[in-house]
């Protein structure tokens, strides 16, 4: 009885989470702009792929996400190692400052960077655009890399690194042969989190993009703000399929890894 009740409850919550998305996707096939069903069509998908602005902003989003997550990963991994070697109070002070972009409301981070970039832009003669968005994204991604790498550092046995030095490695060699391998899982998850956050960011991009630079979330805003636009439905459907696809693949890969580990 109790089991049944919690099952029903589970189904209700799942319906609450998924029905809006399913509704969104279903109406991407509607041959009309209102909620009246007027027959099946692919025309919104066609319109979506023929929209050069949207395709262009998809390209921008990917470029920013790749660059920001790669740079944030390098910067954050190095920072995590360096910060780890500070002592007590200084270390926690640095960590607290580093966590500001995570703790602070996004909108405050956004407007504060806008003030900085406008001011610097006036002083040095540039306008906000690709570069300022990239800098902003690196800024909010790096703390997540640090948060993911630091626990691995704590688990690492420092004598391994010293052993590598004793056996004749240069510090750089010892880093890549020993430390890097130990940290790799943390570095990877930091990279993935950075990549997804950068792909999806709206608020901070909104304030740092200037007037012309478009990313996909900004484009979604332009498409859906105070109007109904079935192209946004089509885009949702594609995003949903991509997300499910990535999840299934990653699940499949990890299941295979488990099997191999069991053998």
């Amino acid at each position: 009885m109790k089991k049944l009740r919690s099952k029903i409850y589970f189904i209700i919550i799942m319906a609450f989470l998924y029905l809006p998305i399913i509704y969104l996707i279903a109406y991407s096939f509607n041959d009309g702009k209102t909620s009246v069903w007027k027959g099946f069509t692919f025309k919104w998908y066609e319109a979506l792929f023929n929209d050069t602005q949207i395709m262009n902003s998809l390209y921008n989003t990917l470029i920013v996400a790749i660059l920001a997550s790669v740079i944030a990963t390098v910067l954050g991994t190095l920072a995590a190692i360096g910060i780890y070697n500070f002592k007590g109070g200084v270390r926690s002070a640095i960590q607290n400052v580093s966590n500001i972009p995570i703790i602070n409301p996004e909108i405050v981070t956004g407007v504060s960077l806008m003030l900085l970039f406008t001011f610097a832009g006036v002083m040095m003669g540039f306008e906000m655009g690709f570069w300022t968005v990239l800098l902003a994204h690196i800024g909010f991604c790096t703390p997540y890399v640090i948060l993911n790498v630091t626990p691995r550092l704590r688990q690492m046995d420092n004598s391994l690194y010293e052993a590598a030095l004793d056996l004749g490695c240069t510090p750089i060699q010892a880093f890549f042969k020993v430390v890097f391998h130990e940290l790799l899982p943390g570095i990877l998850s930091g990279f993935l989190i950075s990549f997804t956050y950068s792909l999806d960011d709206f608020v901070i991009t909104y304030f740092t993009r200037g007037s012309r630079f478009q990313t996909l979330p900004i484009q979604i805003y332009t498409m859906t703000h105070q109007r109904i636009n079935p192209k946004a439905n089509a885009l949702s459907a594609i995003m949903f399929v991509v997300i499910i696809g990535i999840l299934l693949i990653s699940n499949f890969v990890s299941a295979r890894k488990d099997k191999e580990a069991a053998r």
């Binding site: 989470l17 909620s35 409301p105």
Partner: protein, 262 residues
């Protein structure tokens, strides 16, 4: 590996891109357009104190609803098999990966006049406007942030050993006593992080109210609007928001620490 040098680039980075921007916000908040010290911006910002309280209220209600909805769900998930748990968690995270504007847009479509819900209600003779009010904003917020409540609750609850519950049952506890003496105290860290993860973004978010709330804006929307014309007043509101959120985090942290000690 005892060197601090690898941190140098990031220390410089934090100075330029974290500390300086915040100092600039504070500087703008406390100066007038000529750069003199002034509290004028805060006086201008006080016009929005009602919007501010409204935002906090919306955040409070949304957080409470999320907690009530998520708590029993997280518990029943935590009692499933390991495999089932990771499957369910994965399905809870899928909607989170959809762009947040598209998720809000979905609710615009659902709640709009002549939309599906409106039609169903009309069919039963109920004639109410579903969109353009605080209720719609709260629905949007709950939809947006419910997984952020479920996940931390599930994390702590999955660590509650089944044998503790069984022991309590053997010693004669009823369902409510088990909840009060075991499950609730052990889930407090999850409640704290869930409440934090829902309250902070709901209080400060922008656009949700613009999409679903009609003309009643929230503080995030106000900051955006004001910033378009007046950096000083906008900064003053941002400073107030930052202080309120920081205060909230400090209180939540203190609360968590006390629980851990007691």
């Amino acid at each position: 590996m005892k060197t601090k040098r690898p941190a140098i680039p990031y220390l410089g980075w934090m100075l330029v891109f974290t500390i300086v921007p915040l100092v600039m916000v504070v500087y703008y908040a406390f100066t007038d357009s000529k750069g003199h010290f002034s509290l004028e911006s805060f006086r201008n910002a006080s016009v929005y104190s009602e919007v501010f309280l409204y935002s906090l209220l919306i955040a409070l209600i949304s957080t409470a609803i999320c907690l009530v909805l998520a708590y029993p769900l997280a518990f029943s998930i935590s009692r499933c098999s390991q495999r089932a748990q990771s499957m369910i968690i994965m399905f809870l995270m899928v909607p989170m990966w959809m762009n947040f504007l598209l998720r809000i847009y979905a609710w615009v479509l659902i709640l709009q006049n002549y939309g599906p819900l409106d039609m169903i209600l009309n069919f039963f003779g109920v004639d109410i406007t579903l969109i353009g009010n605080s209720g719609a904003v709260i629905v949007g917020m709950v939809y947006e942030f419910l997984p952020f409540m479920i996940l931390p609750l599930h994390t702590v609850m999955s660590k509650i050993d089944r044998s503790w519950i069984e022991a309590a049952q053997d010693l004669g506890c009823n369902g409510f006593q088990i909840f009060r003496k075991i499950i609730f105290p052990l889930s407090i860290p999850g409640i704290i992080s869930g409440v934090t993860m829902v309250f902070v973004p709901t209080a400060s978010t922008f656009l949700v109210a613009q999409y679903l709330g009609g003309t009643q804006f929230m503080i995030g929307d106000v900051i955006e609007r004001v910033f378009q014309s007046d950096h000083h007043t906008g900064s003053a509101i941002a400073v107030v928001l930052m202080v309120v959120i920081l205060g909230f985090l400090v209180v939540m942290n203190r609360f968590g620490d006390e629980e851990a000690v007691g």
